[in-house]
Symmetry: C2
Subunit: 421 residues, 2 copies
């Protein structure tokens, strides 16, 4: 069982939109036991679309197409699908009623262009889209399933989860005899090849036998490395067992660096640890500019443990809002161990939290000083027992620096919470 994901749209091809749809569909189809053989992005061009449909329907069992279903003139996917299947259009009353109701709810008159979204090729069944105007279309023909969905990510996800995936699960229940399971261990603060050396001999992890295989991949990006274990087996149970064995071996060698094994970001791991121990945290940021607070509050329920966060760029704000001493700033400069420590303990005391963290550094692209290059940062930590700061040098890129500095601050919290457990 193989799938192919086709994304249609000049905007994806020329990089105006990053293709997150293909990533999401790839993961979900793998979980369903119908892994993607490839993903392809093509322009809003009838010939190219037809060519790709033709090739894909030969190579795969399931073809998932996204994009080009909007109400405007540049959206040609549906009429190309109709052409490909030599199908006529019919006006679908249910879709028309739904589109009308969306505009009624918003209290705006329906533009004429949206009526076109209710015209459906007669070969297709309609997959309901409660999140937007364009419905999904599913064509089941000669043993192949062909599905077309809008390119807007949340609409695509809604139609997949409520229409496409249940259909595929039901149809292919008995046909799927090879199961692929995956698990990814996320590490931070260690390079790819150093991590590989720490893990050492992988012959007990990566292996192949009759009806099963275990693979391991190293996926590095901006001071993080993910370790992805893939197990192929005849049953889900065996695959899960193979993965658990590989994970155990990896954790024995590099467990200390692993902050997550379920794709959750470090702010979630830290959030769960804080909540479980009934601890609160406050954040004092300089060069990360609110990113640590924003990451922490990305997690639902974070109001339970995130108290205040203060972004204090200037020395004046560091004094006024965080209680950093004027003489400390004068003696050591804003990017220093002592200032990071005073920021962390200052926010902790003022916000009356259990933990305070702080970041003060040079995100770039300007602001370097002698001995303090771009990417240089002090991260401070304070709880009722200990206050300290660590320094790092990261990159020359402002956004990469903000990201890894914020993550490293959260990693320091995680390490402390582990020690104090």
């Amino acid at each position: 069982m193989k799938s192919i994901i086709i994304s249609i749209g000049d905007e994806v091809l020329i990089g105006q939109v990053v293709n997150t749809n293909a990533a999401w569909l790839g993961k979900e189809l793998l979980d369903l036991g119908i892994p993607a053989l490839r993903t392809v992005t093509i322009p809003d061009d009838e010939n190219e679309i037809l060519k790709e449909f033709k090739r894909s329907i030969k190579d795969a069992d399931v073809i998932v197409v996204t994009g080009g279903l909007g109400p405007t003139h540049d959206d040609i996917t549906v009429r190309t699908v109709a052409k490909f299947f030599k199908s006529k259009f019919v006006l679908n009353q249910k879709v028309l009623k739904h589109v009308r109701s969306i505009f009624a709810r918003r209290n705006i008159p329906m533009p004429a262009a949206n009526i076109g979204q209710a015209l459906v090729p007669d070969v297709a069944r309609v997959l309901e889209n409660k999140t937007g105007t364009a419905p999904g279309l599913l064509i089941d023909k000669e043993g192949k399933v062909f599905c077309v969905m809008p390119g807007v990510p949340y609409e695509m996800k809604y139609i997949s989860q409520t229409g496409l995936f249940p259909y595929l699960e039901k149809k292919y229940k008995k046909k799927i005899t090879r199961v692929i399971s995956q698990k990814t261990l996320h590490t931070i603060g260690i390079g790819e090849s150093v991590l590989a050396e720490k893990i050492g001999d992988i012959s007990k992890i990566v292996r192949k036998g009759r009806g099963f295989e275990v693979k391991l991949a190293f996926l590095p990006s901006n001071y993080e490395v993910r370790l992805r274990i893939t197990a192929t087996a005849k049953t889900r149970q065996t695959a899960k067992k193979l993965i658990a064995e590989a994970e155990k071996l990896l954790r024995k060698k590099a467990g200390n660096y692993i902050y997550s094994s379920d794709e959750s970001p470090i702010e979630k791991t830290v959030g769960i640890m804080l909540k479980k121990r009934d601890l609160t945290i406050a954040v004092a940021e300089s060069c990360t500019g609110g990113l640590i607070a924003s990451k922490l509050t990305d997690i639902g329920g974070s109001a339970d443990y995130v108290m205040d966060a203060i972004v204090a760029y200037s020395n004046e704000a560091k004094r006024r809002l965080l209680g950093v001493k004027a003489k400390t700033l004068k003696a050591y400069g804003a990017v220093s161990k002592k200032v990071a420590e005073e920021m962390a303990s200052g926010i902790r005391r003022r916000s009356k939290t259990d933990i305070g963290i702080s970041v003060t550094g040079i995100a770039g692209p300007t602001g370097a000083r002698p001995g303090k290059p771009i990417g240089y940062v002090w991260i401070g930590y304070s709880d009722s027992n200990v206050t300290f700061a660590q320094d790092f040098i990261f990159t020359k890129d402002r956004l990469r620096n903000k990201d890894i500095m914020a993550k490293m601050a959260l990693e320091i919290v995680r390490q402390q919470l582990k020690i104090n457990n």
Copy 2:
């Protein structure tokens, strides 16, 4: 002149990594006059890689391949390239020296696996990679250019900009006789079809003639719509002129909604306006949790106009840090017009800035109250002349809400700066 972008790696195919490389390359290659015919993502599988190489070299002039060049066992791209071109491996001393120097600089011994990165197919020339260990490889054969680069985005970008693009520009200088130019106008706070109605008749914008064509695309996502103008012409000059004409017509109809025409985010537009007028801003956030501050400080030089930012989740923090009155909180609740106004004026007074903005709402997934559903938000604005707040209802998704609420707050600042100009 056509290009094809091939991304290799299970991690991309199964959605563990979002393919930002293809987006970036697509845009850059378009600018070079070698637009992408398609982008394809395939697994770390020799057969699939060979099949795709074969198909691509038939269809395009330039093939750009990324991924699978790391030092670990799962990276098979280079040996597959050697197989495809029937090429032998040679040890490249320059690359070896570079890889050694990287480890020396980091003060860590070089793992044996990294030596392999200096083995290069003899058909290829090496493109230097100062940002990592794996070099780029360029093969120029039978009029086609074939380039392989690492999948790490900043390494790929470095090699493209310093090696691949200069090579392509030089080689194809005289061959490129058709130029495609693009410009995208970003709007916020207006739906796709309402925007289309405002723009009305597009026959003066979208047109085709001898040797030229102008296209217009509507690209919606989460309460934003981008208008992309594409002009094809014989010279860059003509293409630019066609785009300027189309932009003028669009601005006449929908200019008020357009916050950017150079791909820059709203925080950059607002930042430029603030800097130009020598104004400062401070931010008081509740449900956006630091995201407005983080967006504003994503822009280099923002320290000149962003003063403090305070994330005050609790009522207690709203009183202590922003001076919101206890009786206001009691009478109206935290998510109210009056509290948003007091937050905005409070942060402005305390931080002594020209402008204060605030957000108080319900990001979700929990926290809805009677009359205040998830996605409900009050955004406050305060300067020395006026203090007001506006309410909106966005989505049921926490992260989408944080994002659009933060952007809408910045849009309100932009609208006020425009009025006050």
